[in-house]
């Protein structure tokens, strides 16, 4: 391919970002054979990652990109709009995908019946396409469509764990019911907005809603969207679908979903709250202060405490995810540039942490077949690399300096202190301290206890260790040099609060 | 101490001569003391011979340094003896000997050559 054709592609990258994985899904379905599907899905993930990186670079250099699907101009057609906020989310989603995929071959072989491999990768590609679509599109209804693609395929990803544990089916069903409720709430909200504004384009909405900010219909639409997305992003106490879904899904599915799907929902919430609506509206300011902020704080503490008592480590991490979502929502609830910066930063950083942790857990699942506290006993010596990765991820989760967790917490706390909200900073610190307990529980089991009699396990294969460590090193790398991530997050936050993207 | 040989180890020739010299000095402490006294006497005399440039007033006093050294040394010793009356306790005051931080066996087993 010559340079000219390459540069000719660049203007179409917004479309390709979504339609390549979307087309890849049926192709993958037709390919059928597990290993071939895996290779194909890996290539597609990498292509998507490359695309998102180029998009991010273009956005940072030239500002917002708008792409008209089918050549129809914005208010009538669907347009894709990319600014710093969703460019970074695209990078997260596709980046995690491309880290998980090389890892997936061994893990999927071990955890999923052979005849379902092709379907599993197809579902993964659909999920990837859906997540990217939700993120990239500038059309409110299109968000819903992609949200459904994501949801349906992620139910499949979760239920694929049925080969290991039948409870995956009930978990997926629970997820399906609540996920559908969430998506329906969202579409009801969008429908109400359409009713009063006559447009579905997000930019148009942002121009028309201000005049209608005292309209009751808009208030109701706002409530539906907030609750619907709150459900999707597992805001405490709407998180009830999450622990089981993450626990019983296959390792790769958990790693991918945990690191991406809630993040994308957080992004949608951000986009609607701060672009379509604005913190200056009375009803939104009240909701931020009296609904989201308390729920975020309660969630941070309650879910962390719940995590402490978990015996299954996947479930433990799932609860910790709920707590971490609390941090992001907290940043959103500040409604300030600092708060949003912290939220977006944590969105990125948490994807790295949870990705690394769940991948390390997948290695344990492969070798030991048991990810409970008993399963990790003595693994510090038997699987040193895996456990080292896990511990590093755990440190990041706590927020130890030189890891990304520290950067997130630093910004969250400074954002709280900037507003003079000392008690909130104290709660953040307290929940970090509580996080030490559950991380320590695992460290203690892995390093201070002897392995169960007669259990001999080998270190995980390189194909799984390398992706895990790539994410672990990213944790440290972006923890040491946070200039780039902080810069992007700040640009994004200012873009969100500055009105139209 | 288990690895102390019963008899002195025969040192090599050079250190042997040095050790014998020290043996002689230890055996004749009065000669050492006398030597020290003579040197001190000489220094006291020198104190009168050179021109002083005191940076602190007291330095100008005759025999300031010799007297200071002698008196302060005695003061330190008596001060310490007094202090000991107050602070001295049994050796196992904080912990029994069995958990003394300086239990020697680990050092001895660590020995290689």
């Amino acid at each position: 391919m010559t340079g000219a054709t390459l540069s000719g592609i660049v203007p179409h990258l917004p479309a390709l970002q979504v339609v390549v994985p979307l087309l890849a899904a049926p192709v993958c379905f037709l390919l059928r054979r597990g290993v071939i599907c895996w290779g194909f899905a890996t290539l597609v993930s990498w292509a998507a990652f490359a695309t998102s990186l180029v998009l991010l670079q273009v956005v940072l250099a030239d500002g917002t990109i708008r792409y008209e699907m089918g050549g129809w101009a914005a208010p009538w057609g669907i347009e894709y709009v990319i600014d710093a906020t969703n460019a970074i989310v695209l990078v997260i989603v596709s980046g995690i995908g491309s880290a998980v995929m090389p890892y997936a071959r061994r893990s999927v072989m071990a955890e999923i019946p052979a005849n379902q491999h092709g379907l599993y990768y197809t579902a993964y590609l659909l999920c990837l396409a859906g997540l990217l679509g939700v993120t990239i599109t500038g059309d409110a209804f299109n968000v819903f469509v992609f949200l459904e693609i994501t949801s349906l395929s992620s139910y499949i990803l979760v239920s694929a764990g049925a080969g290991m544990d039948r409870r995956a089916l009930t978990a997926a069903y629970n997820y399906l019911v609540l996920g559908t409720v969430g998506a329906t709430f969202f579409v009801i909200g969008v429908g109400l907005l359409y009713m009063v504004t006559g447009t579905l384009n997000i930019i148009d909405l942002s121009e028309r809603v201000p005049a209608l900010q005292h309209n009751r219909t808009v208030h109701v639409a706002f409530a539906f969207i907030v609750v619907g997305m709150g459900l999707k992003l597992a805001l405490f106490p709407l998180h009830t679908w999450l622990p089981n879904a993450y626990t019983y899904a296959p390792s790769t599915g958990t790693a991918f979903l945990a690191a991406t799907s809630t993040k994308v929902s957080v992004y949608v919430l951000l986009r609607f709250l701060f672009v379509v609506f604005a913190p200056s509206y009375g009803f939104m300011a009240l909701t931020l202060d009296y609904v989201l902020l308390p729920l975020a704080l309660i969630g941070m503490v309650a879910a962390t405490v719940a995590a402490i008592y978990q015996y299954n480590i996947k479930r433990l991490l799932a609860y910790s995810s709920v707590a971490q979502i609390g941090y992001m929502v907290l940043g959103i609830a500040y409604g300030s540039v600092e708060g949003l910066t912290a939220a977006i930063l944590h969105l990125f950083n948490h994807a790295l942490m949870k990705g690394a942790l769940f991948l390390a857990l997948g290695c344990i699942m492969l070798r030991v077949g048991d990810v409970t506290m008993r399963g990790v006993q003595g693994l510090g010596r038997q699987m040193p690399w895996t456990m080292a990765a896990f511990v590093t991820g755990g440190l990041s989760l706590i927020g130890v300096p030189l890891t990304v967790g520290f950067i997130s917490k630093w910004y969250l706390i400074t954002a709280a202190l900037d507003d003079g909200r000392w008690p909130i900073a104290a709660v953040i610190l307290a929940s970090s301290l509580l996080a030490i307990i559950y991380v320590w529980k695992i460290v203690e089991a892995a390093y201070l206890k002897e392995p169960p009699e007669g259990r001999v396990v080998r270190e995980a294969p390189l194909s799984m260790l390398v992706p895990t460590w790539v994410l672990v090193l990213a944790n440290i790398g972006f923890g040491i040099n946070a200039e780039f991530t902080v810069g992007v997050a700040r640009t994004a936050a200012m873009g969100l609060l500055g009105g139209a993207p | 101490m288990s690895d102390h040989p019963a008899s002195p180890i025969t040192p090599d020739r050079a250190t042997g001569r040095f050790v014998r010299m020290l043996d002689w000095l230890v055996a004749n402490p009065m000669r050492v003391i006398a030597g020290l006294a003579i040197v001190c006497g000489l220094l006291a005399v020198v104190d009168l011979l050179y021109e002083k440039h005191p940076s602190v007033p007291v330095e100008a006093l005759p025999f300031f340094y010799p007297v200071f050294g002698f008196v302060i040394y005695a003061l330190v010793i008596f001060g310490a003896k007094t202090l000991r009356l107050i602070i001295r306790r049994r050796e196992d005051y904080y912990a029994p000997y069995s958990i003394d931080a300086e239990t020697p066996n680990s050092h001895m087993t660590g020995e290689q050559r």
Binding site: H12, L16, V19, L23, P26, F29, L30, G70, G71 | -
Partner: protein, 145 residues
């Protein structure tokens, strides 16, 4: 069901017309209400009727699930490939204007092709869903009608 002669005869007559009507809806997709989704559902309705009357097993023999499983993704691919074709010819994704020299003709061709893909997928998926659920129990007994 084999004894319900009336139903069998009427269905045999109706099913071709239902499918024909489906095709009508399909090909009107580009300039009047209708299109792939509706057409796919109508065609699937015909197939489901066939299965109800003549039994799941026979329906499976006629509309082989393996083939349907190929049709479903194929439809999606047709849709996506049209988009790529527009891209390759210099337009935006799914910009039919670029498909042929004449804009209007391009729109027609583009929409019809895309709708065809949609119809294919919808019909196949609908049928598959029905066969998957219906296959989980025995056929409906005569007494239960």
């Amino acid at each position: 069901m084999r004894h319900h002669l009336v139903l069998r005869v009427v269905s045999k007559i109706l099913i071709p017309f239902i499918i024909l009507y489906g095709l009508y809806v399909q090909f009107h997709g580009d300039f009047s209400p209708g299109g792939g989704f509706q057409a796919g559902v109508i065609v699937a309705a015909a197939i489901i009727l066939y299965a109800l009357i003549f039994g799941i097993e026979r329906a499976r023999q006629v509309f082989k699930p393996e083939v349907l499983l190929v049709f479903a993704p194929l439809g999606v691919m047709i849709f996506a490939l049209v988009g790529y074709a527009a891209l390759a010819l210099g337009g935006n994704y799914l910009d039919y204007d670029w498909l042929v020299a004449n804009d209007t003709a391009g729109q027609h061709i583009g929409i019809i092709t895309v709708e065809f893909g949609v119809g294919l997928t919808v019909a196949a998926v609908m049928t598959l869903i029905f066969l998957a659920y219906a296959g989980r129990t025995r056929d409906i007994d005569d007494e239960d009608w």
